[in-house]
Symmetry: C2
Subunit: 366 residues, 2 copies
C-alpha cells in the first residue's frame, strides 16, 4: 500500500523522489475531484467477499499471504468475521505423480463441477514454491478452460517458509472462499514432503490421480498416499492405453482390498478416465457424489470436519513449541554436539536429549 | 527392590507389617553368618552383563524399568557404560494381527536362530500393559520351547505410562542385551497405537506376520504397516489352508508392487510358512539373512542405525516439549475452552492456538 503522500490524490501535488517539484500554485485552480482511495477495513473486505466480489476476495487472500504484520493482523480480523459463513462446500484434495495429468484433469473436473451450477475455487499447496518463481501448481495457464470461467477462482500456492505456514494460509483462504459462496474447493498438491498429509487434513475427499505402468515398472506412489485416498482414478484410459489402464485399476482394487476400511467406513473406489479426451468424467463425479451422500448420512462428514479443526489447533501448537526450541542458536549448537556424542555411542539419545532440554527450560525462566 | 529393613538379612530380625515381632534376644546368639547383600554398583552390573550373567542382566533390566529415581540414575550409569559394547546384533521387529500365531512363530523362529549358534533376546512393546496384569506379549508361557533355552532371554513389555517411555526402556534394554552378547534381538508388538512405528524405528528388519483371509474378508492390517514391512510372511500354510495361503501371498506380492521401494532399496519379500508345523522356517530365515547381506553391503545398515539414533534424540525432545505444555492444568483448561471456540466457528484454530501459546511462554518466564 502506497504511503498517502505518494498518491495522486494530494490536491494537485505529486511528490516524487528526485523529481523537481512543480512550482506552488493556487491549489484551488488545480483541484481535481477524485475520490480518495480509502484504506479498506476488515468489514469492507467481508462485505465484498459476502457479495462474491472477486477483486476483494483476491485482495483479502493477498493479505492472508502477506508476511507483513499489519496485513496479518487485518487478515485475521477478516477471517474471524468470515468464520460464521464457512463450511458450506465440498473440499476435495487432489494429488498425483508428476506427469499424471493433474492440471488437465483439474481443468476438466472443474468445468464439470461448474456445469452443475456451482462455484469453484482451485487452491494449491506447494511448500517449495518461491514467490519469485511462481508456483507450478495453480498456474492458471495450465488450466486453460477453467481460467476463463467467471465462477472459477484460481490461486497458486502461498509461500510461507514452512509447510505449516503454507497449510495454514491455504485453510484461511478456504474460509474466505467459502464465505464468498464458493461451494466447491479443490486443493491440489504435488508430492513434496508431507504436503499430502496436510491436504488430507483439510479436505473432505482425497482423490489420487494415477497412471497405468508400462510393463513391470509401475508408477510407484509415495508411501502412505494410497491409504489416504478415498478414490483412485487412473488417467489416460484412451486409445491403445485402455487395456493397461483397466489392468492397473484392477491391481489397485486388489491392493486396496488388503487394507482395512478407512475411518469413514467408505470403500475407496478405483475408476479409469481420460482427462484429455474427457471420457469417464461423469462416472468420477458420480462416485464423489456418492461419497458425500454416504458420509453425510452417517454423520462422519461433520465428525471429520470437527476432528480436522481440533487437529489444526494442536498441530499449530506443536509446530510452535518445536520452533521455539529448534531455532534457538545455542540449542542448535548443543544439538550438533549431542548428535556426535550419540552417534559415537558416548551418550544415550535419552540422556543427550535430557541435557539439552534442561538447558532450554532453565533458559526460558530468565 | 525391597527396602533393606524388610530383608531377611538383617541379623536375625524379620520385619513384617502387622506380624507380631519376636522378642529381642541377644543378637549374638542368633547371628547367622549370611553374606550381606551389598548394593551393586554400576560397574558391578556392567561386569556381570559383559560376562553374560543372566541374573545380573535381569536385575539391570528391572532397574531400567523401575520408576524410582535412584534406580533410574543407576540404570543410566549402567547403560552409559554398556554403550561401547552395543551394536553387534540383528534387531528384528515382529508384528501381526491378533490370532496370526505370533507367539508360536517367535518360538519356532527363535529356536531356529539358536540352532545356528546365537543368543536371542525377545523383548516386547505393549503400551497398554499394566504391571499388575502382566503383558500378553513376552509371556514366557506362550513361548514354550524358547523359555527353556539357556541362550534365550525373554522379557515382557515394560510399563511406563506412555508409548515414548515404553519405547525408550525397550531400547535401553536392547543396549544391555547386546552388551551381554545377545546377537539376535526380537522386538514384538501387537497393533496398539503407534507401537509399530516405534518398533520400526529401533530395528533393522521389520517382519509382518499375516494370515490368509477366508473368502472375501481378508484379515485387514493396520493402515501404514504394510509399507513398513521388509518381509511379509503368511502363517498357517498347512493342511487344507495351503491354497489360500499361497493365494494371499500372491495378492500381497501384487500389492507391494504398487508401492515404491523402501529407502533400503530392498524389495520386500512375501513368503508362506507354518509356525505350528514348522514348515518353511529355513526359507524365512534365508530371506532375512539375504536382507542383512544386502543392506550391510550397500551401507544402508549403518546409515539406518545412525538415523535411528538421531531420531530418538529428537523424538525424546519433541515428546518432552509437548508434555511440558499439555500436562499443565491451566493449559488443559484453556485448551478445552479454545476447542469449543474453534468448533463453534467463533475463532480460527490458528488464533486459538496462538493465544494459548502466548500464555504458556509468558508463564515460563516466571
Amino acid at each position: 500500500m502506497e504511503h498517502p503522500e505518494n498518491s495522486e490524490e494530494y490536491a494537485g501535488l505529486t511528490v516524487n523522489k528526485g523529481v523537481q517539484q512543480p512550482p506552488m500554485t493556487n491549489p484551488y485552480l488545480n483541484f481535481k475531484a477524485r475520490p480518495r482511495r480509502r484504506t479498506l477495513t476488515a468489514a469492507d473486505y467481508v462485505e465484498g467477499i459476502r457479495k462474491g466480489d472477486v477483486t476483494l476476495l483476491s485482495q483479502a487472500v493477498t493479505l492472508v499471504e502477506s508476511q507483513r504484520s499489519e496485513h496479518q493482523a487485518l487478515a485475521q480480523e477478516v477471517i474471524e468475521k468470515c468464520l460464521p459463513y464457512t463450511g458450506n462446500s465440498k473440499r476435495i484434495g487432489i494429488t498425483g505423480v508428476p506427469g499424471a495429468g493433474k492440471s488437465t484433469s483439474i481443468d476438466v473436473f472443474g468445468l464439470h463441477v461448474l456445469k452443475q451450477g456451482g462455484k469453484l475455487a482451485v487452491l494449491a499447496i506447494d511448500p517449495s514454491s518461491e514467490r519469485s518463481n511462481g508456483s507450478i501448481l495453480g498456474d492458471k495457464t495450465r488450466m486453460e478452460k477453467l481460467s476463463t470461467q467467471p465462477n472459477a477462482f484460481i490461486r497458486p500456492s502461498p509461500s510461507a517458509g514452512s509447510l505449516g505456514g503454507v497449510a495454514r494460509k491455504t485453510r484461511e483462504t478456504i474460509v474466505l472462499c467459502e464465505a464468498a459462496g464458493y461451494d466447491n474447493i479443490f486443493v491440489e498438491t504435488v508430492g513434496v514432503g508431507q504436503s499430502e498429509t496436510a491436504v488430507h487434513s483439510m479436505v473432505d475427499f482425497f482423490l489420487l490421480i494415477q497412471l497405468a505402468g508400462t510393463g513391470d515398472e509401475l508408477q510407484g506412489i509415495k508411501r502412505g498416499i494410497m491409504e489416504m485416498a478415498d478414490g483412485i482414478v487412473i488417467n489416460k484410459c484412451d486409445g491403445d492405453n485402455v487395456e493397461r489402464a483397466k489392468l492397473a485399476a484392477a491391481q489397485f482394487r486388489s491392493a486396496l482390498h488388503l487394507f482395512p476400511l478407512p475411518p469413514s467406513g467408505w470403500t475407496p473406489k478405483v475408476l479409469t478416465y481420460s482427462g484429455y479426451y474427457e471420457l469417464g468424467i461423469d462416472e468420477v463425479w458420480n462416485m464423489i457424489d456418492q461419497y458425500f451422500a454416504f458420509v453425510r448420512k452417517s454423520g462422519y462428514f461433520d465428525e471429520r470436519r470437527r476432528e480436522q479443526e481440533k487437529y489444526w489447533m494442536y498441530e499449530t501448537i506443536n509446530e510452535q513449541l518445536k520452533r521455539n526450541f529448534y531455532t534457538d542458536p545455542v540449542i542448535e549448537e548443543m544439538l550438533q554436539a549431542k548428535k556426535q556424542m550419540v552417534l559415537s555411542a558416548r551418550q544415550s539419545s535419552f540422556v543427550a536429549a535430557s541435557e539439552v532440554l534442561d538447558y532450554y527450560f532453565q533458559k526460558l525462566k530468565k
